[in-house]
């Protein structure tokens, strides 16, 4: 049984089409990235999956059930964009209520919220009201609510947006740790983050599915190297690199990375590293294939 199945799924707001005839089949496993520019339909798709909004047409099933079904209670969780906890009630009280709604008795609910708050390193905030927490801590509490009952699938809508680097790293680490048992679908504008976290990527644009596939596409990336070496002088490096054996073409991306096309990626890598060593140039990263950003938006 597939995790999520969309069949010609469409959502319209009046005359505006937010999502158009989306066909998609997602299976459980490594985290799945959901990307696209603003207005691409990412939040609409997540809201449809969670049952917050109704589709205009088409079919959608999650773990074989319609969105909003009782069967999904405790199996599907989410961190919805801009959703806030009640500022008047303590974090622990609200999470306990959610746990009780998922069918846990009072003792189980207490133990479970201690577990999820421990997971996000906020056990001490159990009696704190959300308004007394920082933005990053509130986000972590919201993630903790999504982990109650160890759900099968968790949707995270821009989990690190507006978050400071330490909190963002903690959230990324948490997704990595939990992804052994839970499939995460993560929407974000931070492509570097998604590239490191996710195994596959859904790319939406103007409500349409542009592509869906693995983050590292071995079929297309076998002949390209990406070198990140900001301190290397480009005017000297590029002509020398071009002369290396097995190097076909050298280009530079808008991000300052070097994109090196080869006919033998292994041999070219060795020659490239030798060139860098001979000239005393330090590099930050050498990777096979293009970055996710370059694959989606690059022209090189």
């Amino acid at each position: 049984m597939s995790l999520i199945h969309c069949d010609t799924l469409t959502k319209r707001y009046g005359s505006a089409v937010a999502l158009e005839s989306l066909n998609l089949e997602l299976d459980s496993g490594a985290p799945i990235a959901l990307i696209g520019p603003n207005g691409a339909g990412k939040t609409t798709l997540m809201s449809l999956i969670c049952g917050f909004i109704q589709p205009s047409s088409g079919q959608l099933s999650i773990l074989g059930h319609a969105p909003g079904s009782h069967e999904l209670s405790g199996r599907l969780a989410a961190l919805p964009q801009d959703a806030l906890l009640d500022p008047r009630l303590s974090v622990g009280r609200q999470l306990r209520f959610y746990a009780r709604l998922q069918g846990l008795d009072k003792q189980q609910a207490r133990a479970e919220i201690l577990r999820v708050l421990e997971t996000v390193d906020l056990r001490d905030s159990i009696d704190t009201k959300p308004t007394d927490l920082s933005h990053g801590m509130r986000k972590r509490v919201a993630i903790a609510q999504s982990l109650i009952g160890s759900p099968t699938v968790v949707l995270l809508d821009e989990p690190t947006a507006g978050i400071d680097p330490p909190n963002a790293k903690m959230i990324r680490d948490l997704v990595k740790e939990q992804s052994a048992n839970t499939t995460f679908i993560v929407s974000s504008h931070n492509l570097d983050e998604l590239e490191r976290l996710c195994g596959s990527v859904i790319y939406l644009e103007k409500g349409r599915l542009v592509s869906f596939g693995a983050v590292s596409d071995d079929n297309h990336d076998h002949d390209v190297l990406t070198l990140r070496a900001p301190s290397v002088p480009a005017d000297v490096f590029m002509p020398l690199c071009q002369q290396l054996a097995h190097v076909l073409r050298v280009g530079k991306t808008s991000q300052g990375d070097y994109l090196i096309e080869t006919d033998n990626e292994m041999q070219a890598s060795i020659a490239l590293l030798q060139l860098l060593a001979d000239n005393g140039w330090r590099y930050r990263q050498l990777s096979r294939g293009k970055t996710l950003e370059e694959r989606l938006y690059g022209n090189a």
């Binding site: 909004i53 969780a77 959703a83 009640d86 009780r100 609510q145």
Partner: protein, 267 residues
Amino acid sequence: MKLIVIAQDEVLRLFSTKRGLLSIVGFCLIWLAVLIYGVMPAAQFFGGLAESGLAELLLPEFGSSGLQHWPASELSVYWVASLYLLPFLAIMTAADQTASDRARGTLRYLVLRCGRLEIFFGRYIGQLLILFMVVLVTLFSVLVIVAMNSAENLSAAIASSPVIIVNLMLVLAPYIALMALVSVLASTARQATLYAMVIWLVVSFLVSYLKSVFPDVSLLNWALPGSQISELRSLSDWQTLSLAPIPIVHTVVLLVVGAAIMRQRDL
């Protein structure tokens, strides 16, 4: 099961928030003032009028026959006063059943765990329980006064209490249902109250107009929630239940409409 958890949470929410606790303290103070300066002297006053027969003459609009039928004059005053006061309290306390949770996005956390209708009806039942407790507490306080003023009437007054409780809950049910409906449409408690007032005025004008066009359709007299109160105040004991179908129909209609909107509305 989830319905009970939600209803329980709705009641506990009242005692867990500063606003809820302030409302309780405020209501207790107001009720104390009503008891001391309203129920006690009014009971003596109306008791005297009823005994002398002046009540029928002076206060026909007040439903004086009802005053005579309750076993203690304090209970009579409580009956009439609560018929008018408690609906206002219901409108105020039940205004935020789902409104601010929707505006804040908290409702999204809930619908991932339970059905929209469970939230709608769970919150409604929670508000019913809150007002049930209010009725119990206020009635108990009046019984204490009966015990102090005329202990010989206490057992009869206690025997009449179930009638009063059932009737007051029947009166309050459609008001809470109305607030459940407008709370689905509004984004704050204040907005919900405003919507309730607008709906009230529009339906009132509509009913007045229809009554002028169709003067023989007596059903129009019962179109508004609470329209039976003026009849109810002159009744006592179990005869009061003769008007029960009116608030029951109001409640069912309002809840059905509210639930339908709740099911369809985007979160």
